[in-house]
């Protein structure tokens, strides 16, 4: 079948164009992406991954989802890399063990609980959903995250939330150097100490630190906490059973906006008119 819209997209220049879409909000009552898998949270499955490689584990998760299983438990993942990456579906996933690099990256929707530790770049490019890690995490935790809650109850490495573009990162312990490096949006809560160059060249977003800050990065500056911040912090920390009594002593860090050199090019974004 001819697909006119796709042909147009392939050929057009994405510069300041308006495109008329035919969409009526009243007629759409879907909560899931088109073509997403129908899963039931009450339908559960569990498997042992000790003898499986990463590809086999990911294929097994997808096969269970295709069968409508909405709650999956993976035992003994063996700290393998790229486990549970790219899940664009509602799902409850419990991982009993630790993950290697790029665990749960690019996800959009699932709620994932990890009982062990995670390696570099856990939750990188995450779009939505929840990842909760019981122990420690490696460097570049939540790199380029765009949405959702990424929670580590232990310590994390350096460059946490590098290029963060939205969402929430919560660290129960300490975080390493260059946390919030080039952060553009979103919020980060560090319950413990933060390493050198916190928020270096951050463009926007907010960092809340409960412990000691080794040093601030370029253009990162301290700001006053307001009532909305306190309310938001309280509700988020309660969600993940963290100590809300630390909020009153937290330091809020934002961008000093001295490196903002934007011009008026933004209208070149593509536009849709409904």
């Amino acid at each position: 079948m001819e697909n006119k819209l796709s042909e147009k997209m392939r050929g057009e220049e994405l510069v300041g164009r308006s495109q008329q879409m035919f969409f009526t909000p009243e007629e759409e009552e879907n909560f899931l992406y088109p073509d997403s898998l129908e899963v039931d949270f009450d339908k559960t499955a569990e498997f042992d991954a000790a003898e499986m490689n990463a590809s086999e584990i990911n294929k097994k998760i997808r096969a269970l989802m295709a069968d409508g299983v909405g709650t999956i438990t993976v035992n003994n993942p063996g700290a393998q890399h790229s486990i549970a990456a790219g899940i664009l579906n509602r799902l409850k996933l419990n991982i009993n063990g630790s993950l290697g690099y790029f665990g749960c990256g690019l996800i959009d929707g699932p709620v994932i609980n990890i009982s062990g530790r995670v390696g570099w770049s856990c939750g990188e490019n995450m779009m939505s959903g929840v990842i909760e890690i019981a122990k420690n995490a490696g460097s570049t935790f939540g790199a380029a995250i765009r949405g959702g809650d990424l929670v580590c109850h232990g310590d994390v490495g350096g460059r946490t939330g590098i290029c963060m573009k939205g969402g929430t990162i919560i660290v129960g312990g300490r975080t390493g150097a260059f946390t919030g490096f080039m952060m553009q949006r979103g919020r980060m809560i560090i319950m413990g100490d933060a390493g050198n160059n916190l928020g270096d060249t951050m463009y926007d977003g907010m960092l809340f630190v409960g412990g000691k800050i080794s040093s601030l990065g370029v253009d990162a500056t301290e700001a006053e906490m307001n009532d909305m911040d306190v309310r938001w912090l309280t509700s988020k920390l309660k969600l993940y059973n963290m100590d809300t009594s630390k909020i009153k002593n937290m330091t809020k860090i934002v961008s000093g906006k001295q490196l903002w050199n934007y011009d008026n090019l933004e209208p070149s974004e593509k536009k849709l008119v409904l």
């Binding site: 796709s6 035919f22 969409f23 073509d35 949405g147 939205g166 463009y203 926007d204 001295q258 934007y262």
Partner: protein, 112 residues
């Protein structure tokens, strides 16, 4: 360095990106969406706000990197918190629609 570069400039956002969502303003549709997804709060929608595009209210859709203009027949309240909730609801409905541009892109380019 020129004076121009010493002055803080407007980033061009059409809303306060750091405005914290008021959970009391949540709509029944969003409440159900959160329940369906198994989340406990607005999750990624905390970062969604009602902005403006060519003097019309609009919401930014990150999936297509475009502003989506709000239909004219939708009456918007004065409060930014209420407007933000409408923006969130509209965006979810649009992204989940079969008429969303990504549906066609997926047909054309998906390797699966």
């Amino acid at each position: 360095m020129s004076t121009k570069h010493n002055e803080p400039q407007h980033i061009g956002y059409r809303y306060d990106v750091n405005l914290v969502a008021d959970p009391e303003k949540i709509t029944p549709f969003l409440k159900k969406y959160i329940e369906v997804m198994g989340w406990k709060d607005l999750n990624w929608l905390e970062d969604i706000h009602m902005g403006y595009e060519e003097d019309r209210p609009a919401v930014f859709d990150r999936n297509i990197n475009a502003w989506v203009t709000v239909p004219e027949n939708i009456k918007l309240p004065e409060s930014q918190q209420d407007r933000d909730m409408i923006a969130r609801e509209l965006l979810v409905k649009f992204q989940m629609s079969r008429r969303h541009p990504l549906v066609d892109l997926k047909k054309e380019y998906s390797k699966l």
